[in-house]
């Protein structure tokens, strides 16, 4: 019989499996604590004090949101309430959301809660992608709030007969098949006016999440460039 080597010993591999699995799990849990601290939803105070959060307070719906290049980070970041010129948010410039820019933390939280519930119950994720995850049958919604299609130069405000982005979106969500943009249409999901408001708040909030530059060049390129 050949001399027993440690490499061909089942117990050695059994222990390696246990140790490596344990080590990887501990590392994952430790990183989870760190990540959780960084992605916990911010507060209205943070916004007022100019503290940048990866996931800002729901009251971010009171502010103007854009998606601009940060030279420091080398990719685009959400800019809340104006750019300081270096790719950092100023948290100054407000923007009306359904006619108001003074949504309290409580009201905004309630609206976001309704919107998030709606996004799950209406099964958004099984056609669209949210933060890039979901199905691929309809456009990604990560930065949908910032999509030029819904802006003053886009076609959706005129189509729905509304003057603001949020009202156009809410109108569309309530009667999607009335405003078809392509042969592939969004079905009517029985979304009420209140739910639509919540969903739009959810979308606006999602566009303010720092996604490390995903998606790249969003909304910067207008007009189709087919082929090369």
């Amino acid at each position: 019989m050949a001399k027993r080597s440690v490499w061909s010993d089942n117990r050695f591999w059994q222990r390696s499996a246990a140790w490596i699995t344990g080590f990887a799990s501990v590392l994952l849990i430790w990183l989870t604590f760190d990540t959780m601290a960084q992605i916990t939803i911010g507060t209205d105070e943070d916004l007022k004090n100019g503290v940048t959060k990866r996931v800002p307070s729901p009251t971010v719906i009171n502010y103007k949101i854009t998606y601009e290049m940060s030279t420091k980070r080398g990719h685009e970041v959400p800019i809340i309430g104006g750019n300081d010129g270096q790719g950092m948010s100023l948290f100054q410039e407000k923007e009306m959301f359904f006619g108001r820019d003074d949504w309290s933390e409580e009201e905004a939280t309630e609206l976001l809660h309704l919107g998030k519930l709606g996004s799950q119950v209406k099964n958004c994720m099984n056609c669209h992608t949210l933060l890039g995850n979901g199905a691929y049958y309809a456009p990604d919604l990560t930065k949908a709030w910032l999509d030029p299609q819904w802006g003053p130069n886009g076609s959706m405000q005129a189509m729905t007969g509304k003057n603001t982005k949020e009202e156009a979106m809410a109108e569309f969500l309530q009667n999607p098949s009335k405003y078809p943009t392509h042969a592939r249409m969004m079905p009517n999901l029985g979304i009420t006016a209140e739910e639509a408001k919540g969903l739009v708040a959810f979308l606006k909030h999602m566009s303010s999440i720092d996604t490390n530059g995903f998606p790249r060049n969003f909304g910067k390129i207008e007009g189709a460039v087919h082929g090369k």
Binding site: M1, S8, M69, E76, N217, K220, I221, K228
Partner: protein
């Protein structure tokens, strides 16, 4: 309507295809290397096939290099890729050695 300061693709448009192909080939060739090596060792294939195994390893390393340079990987990743290539070279040897050991110990 393109603001030049904004468009900074890390990857050139015509580099996507070569990246996908080379990264797929890394594993295809890597798989061939490991597969042929093992198959020769357990006598499913004849001995003369062995140089082809190493040829596939060379192709793997080359594809890894192509992929890395097209993606403009940083220093850290570049080092990691070199180590990965060497690791792959050693992997089937180590694995076969261990297997054979266990086999011999248990055939009595």
């Amino acid at each position: 309507m393109i603001d030049p300061s904004v468009i900074r693709p890390e990857i050139a448009l015509d580099a996507f295809l070569p990246i996908f192909v080379s990264s797929a080939l890394v594993l295809v060739f890597g798989g061939f290397y490991v597969g042929i090596y093992t198959a020769v060792k357990v006598n499913i294939l004849k001995k003369w096939a062995m140089p082809f195994a190493y040829l596939f390893w060379i192709l793997t390393a080359y594809c890894l290099y192509t992929m890395g340079s097209l993606m403009h990987v940083g220093d850290f990743t570049a080092k990691a890729l070199v180590i990965a290539a060497i690791g792959l070279l050693l992997l089937p040897h180590a694995v076969y050695y261990m297997q054979d050991r266990v086999h011999k110990e248990n055939e009595h």
